[in-house]
């Protein structure tokens, strides 16, 4: 049976992990390769790297990092953040990324999704969608969630699926950082409306939240950052608990 995936997310700036991390035995928690390796060895099903470098220099460093991660890591990983062209994606895939996440660039120019799917295959095209509720309806935001658009989350999700996205990474801005659980209602609607996998993001605080994202939110995968970085939740323990609750999980 296809299992639900647990995905730690690493924020990268100038080739280093940002946000605090407190694994006890890590000498250099800022090194994304060391951190990625640790996650791969302790049960992560996949990894996501989000680049928040604003400078060209930072972007170049990212490519080196991707190459190093690909050399060391034996599980799949996605790279996203500021990806805006076929050339960007080509470079990241050539450097060993398995999938690439696009966000703002796809909103500005939706045909990009089709171009990527045609050239590289849907399996490596993840469309990241940041959304929050405005007057009761879910509106897509761009530029790291700083700019609202008129796009409705569910309509946009269907559009990206039609254009050839292989997967959707949905971050609820309302839930992100709250540690109060994922946006399960919106997730369930997305998962039912779309015939491609949905990754839940934003709001993980406890083991129960993951359970809810899978059972209520019908998510195919759940992504989190700080609960893993700070060791609040141990991935193996999380996965064991989920399995005890009859959620299909790889152990």
């Amino acid at each position: 049976m296809l299992t639900k995936r647990i995905i730690p997310c690493l924020d990268i700036k100038n080739g280093r992990t940002v946000k605090g991390v407190n694994f006890v035995d890590l000498k250099d928690a800022g090194d994304p390769v060391i951190l990625a390796k640790k996650y791969a060895q302790t049960g992560a099903d996949e990894l996501v790297f989000l680049d928040i470098s604003a400078t060209l220099e930072g972007r170049k460093t990212l490519v080196d990092m991707v190459l190093q991660v690909a050399k060391e890591i034996n599980i799949p990983f996605t790279v996203g953040g500021g990806v805006s062209s076929v050339e960007d994606v080509d470079l990241l895939l050539q450097s060993g990324a398995d999938k690439v996440a696009v966000n703002s660039a796809a909103i500005k120019r939706p045909e990009l999704i089709k171009e990527l799917a045609d050239k590289f295959g849907s399996q490596c095209v993840v469309v990241a969608i940041d959304a929050k509720q405005i007057n009761g309806s879910w509106k897509v935001h761009l530029a790291g969630g700083t700019m609202a658009t008129d796009l409705d989350l569910f309509e946009w999700a269907k559009t990206v699926e039609t254009l050839g996205a292989g997967e959707i990474l949905f971050t609820s801005m309302d839930n992100d950082g709250t540690k109060q659980g994922f946006a399960n209602e919106a997730l369930a609607r997305l998962s039912t409306a779309c015939n491609i996998p949905i990754i839940a993001s934003g709001g993980a605080g406890t083991v129960d939240h993951f359970m809810d994202a899978f059972q209520i939110g019908k998510a195919d995968a759940a992504l989190a950052a700080s609960v893993f970085h700070f060791g609040t939740i141990d991935i193996l323990e999380l996965k064991k608990t989920l399995q005890e609750q009859n959620i299909p999980i790889r152990l």
């Binding site: 049976m1 099903d45 050399k71 034996n74 060993g96 292989g166 195919d220």
Partner: protein, 193 residues
């Protein structure tokens, strides 16, 4: 030991190269028929769409060469699908090494299947030390139908062949290069065939 990864211009082959390097095996990328023929082991990778991948194999004449190879050959993902009779993806005639057809998953399930699923009914030494149900990483929209040459089975919306074998030819639908320790074991096993 000389391992050649057939380079015919499809998709991301870096991860396969790196996976072998992690095992201490250096790998040669080539589309040169002579180099491929002289290799101890041959890998046929593949990511992307079947008909365009097949076209690339034909352009280089590799479509005729591959079925004549005598050393162990491992097709991975689309590489395995191209070794079958026919794929519904782009109505593509395959290399006809494995006597089975490649079909698309129904819309009763999410397509592509993406993530870790179990492989079962394991046969041959390719799975030495691996015990069913073993988890492997899969990303695909099309699958090979179960047949007499199946050496591993996986269930999604249907029970299908996740690995195939005929003589010296092996094919796996999953990505051993991305399947953690189980995948590494499989690659080690392939090296010993």
């Amino acid at each position: 030991m000389k391992v050649v990864l057939i380079d015919y211009g499809v998709g991301n082959i870096k991860s396969i190269q790196f996976a072998f390097e992690r095992l201490g095996v250096s790998i040669v990328l080539s589309k040169d028929p002579e180099i491929i023929q002289q290799a101890d082991k041959v890998i046929l990778p593949g990511v992307g769409e079947a008909s365009s991948a097949m076209r690339k194999l034909k352009e280089t004449g590799l479509d005729a060469l591959i079925p004549t190879l005598k050393q162990p050959v491992l097709g991975i993902c689309l590489g395995m699908q191209l070794m079958c009779n026919h794929s519904d993806e782009g109505n593509t005639t395959g290399l006809k090494i494995f006597n089975t057809e490649v079909k698309r998953f129904s819309s009763d399930v999410k397509v592509p299947q993406m993530g870790w699923n179990t492989i079962n009914n394991l046969k041959t030494d390719l799975f030495f030390k691996l015990k069913a149900p073993e988890y492997m990483y899969l990303v695909h929209s099309y699958y090979a139908q179960n047949c007499a040459q199946a050496i591993a089975l996986t269930e999604y919306d249907i029970l299908y062949a996740s690995a195939l074998q005929k003589d010296n030819f092996y094919g796996v639908q999953f990505h051993p290069e991305k399947s953690s320790r189980a995948g590494e074991q499989l690659l080690k096993n392939f090296m010993k065939l």
